[in-house]
């Protein structure tokens, strides 16, 4: 066990983690933040995507110890109380959610994209989301939701 301190969804947190613990395990099991999904657990599917210092990373391939001193954002940190983030709103309105397992990763990846590129083309949206698999294959609506969030900002 070692104690790590990092910023989680804007708040400073401290927790003990096992050396071989991955960030997705810490988020789900120690903080109860089950919005971060554990999919393949092998870095293929993108379901476990979180924002690490603002950039999307695969939390199943990161040791929790590597979070020490950094900032992590999960899907739970996105809305402002009851007020949904424009991307969450757009995903709801466009019906871009089927089983919902890929959605947190999709939304966080899209958030990082819109922060670095506020007006992406469809090609750029698809490239940015290319590491996030939707096994319901609902990609069309996911892309239109991201476009809608661009226009709503």
């Amino acid at each position: 066990m070692r104690v790590i301190r990092f910023t989680l969804n804007g708040d400073p947190v401290e927790t003990g983690v096992r050396t071989e613990e991955t960030l997705v395990q810490t988020l789900r099991e120690r903080f109860g933040l089950t919005g971060t999904k554990q999919g393949c657990d092998l870095g293929d599917c993108g379901a476990c995507t979180v924002l690490f210092d603002g950039a999307p990373v695969l939390s199943c391939l990161m040791l929790s110890s590597d979070a020490e001193g950094h900032s992590v954002q999960t899907i739970e940190g996105l809305s402002n109380g009851e007020k949904l983030h424009p991307l969450q709103k757009a995903f709801l309105e466009e019906g871009a959610v089927q089983c919902g397992y890929c959605t947190p990763g999709m939304i966080l990846t899209a958030k990082a994209l819109l922060e670095s590129n506020p007006d992406p083309s469809e090609h750029e949206i698809r490239r940015a989301l290319s590491g996030n698999l939707c096994r319901c294959t609902g990609y069309t609506k996911i892309v239109s939701a991201v476009k809608k969030a661009v226009n709503s900002d």
Binding site: G43, L63, N132
Partner: protein, 337 residues
Amino acid sequence: MMVLPEFKLMRPASLSEALSALAQNPGAMAVAGGTDLLVSMKQGLYNPTHLVDLKGAPELHRLEAGEGGATIGACVRLSRVKNHPEIIRRYGALSQAADAVAGPALQNRGTIGGNVCLDTRCYYYNQSDFWRQSLGFCLKKDGPVCRAAPAAKRCFANFSSDTVPALIVLGARVRVVCGCEGGVSERVLPLEDFFVEDGMKRNVLAPGELVAELYLPATRNVFSGYRKYRQRGAIDYPLVSVAAALSIEDGVIRGARVAVGAMASAPVVALETMEALEGAAPTPELISKAAELVAKRTKPVKNQAGSPGHRRLMAKVMCRRLLEELLGLGPLFGKAV
């Protein structure tokens, strides 16, 4: 859920500390981004006693690129390589290759050093412990025989790095370091000499050695690019990849370099294609002829998706499209996918 086996984590603050940590613990392995190694550890392919985290060594984070060449530290992230304006401008193949590794989220953690040292891959190897045990273990891990080519006495696991073919055609050299009495010893070798055609050994690194940096020579009017063929447009490892670099002087091709990835256990330099291009005037006929020769030195076995014949054919197609793009001939194709 895939659980990591237990290990001790060491976090040295400098390269020399990292090297002595590796030297003192024979069961230790080095880790940087972890995007390759942690997956293999979850599958039971590696069971290191210690992981030596290289990210704390500032010497390994240097990225300088400009008129005189480029120096890229082993711990520089793939996304940083891909987005560096001087790399895009002078070493296009490398930027495209870094962009072709897995997906964008992985590129934010994976490093160039890790991609150079990437483990070789095979259908029968990159599987969970349960899967491998069910079939019977393979030569590369715990087994008596290569499951892909049972009659052979060697391992055919596939060389799968994207950045390496690009680095090779751009003339990269690699600095390998090792802890020794009183400091750090080093050797610098051309990157193509770093690899060995053996799926198990895969490169010349001895125990305790590390890749520290990559050096790229200055380029003048060099066109370079990278093409990757894979099952999906992202995430997957290459079934075939081709990198090329060349320049045009007085209407003829000079300094042509072409390398093929994912067709053997090491990258393959396509000498026949390079010979056909060198000194010739760029024409569609020349491109077709040169591309036909690209798979000549490869003999892939059936150890990943796509038959060996299909992969050899696609090597030629990828090579032709890449040369057409670099030489401004033929229809315009999109960015490397």
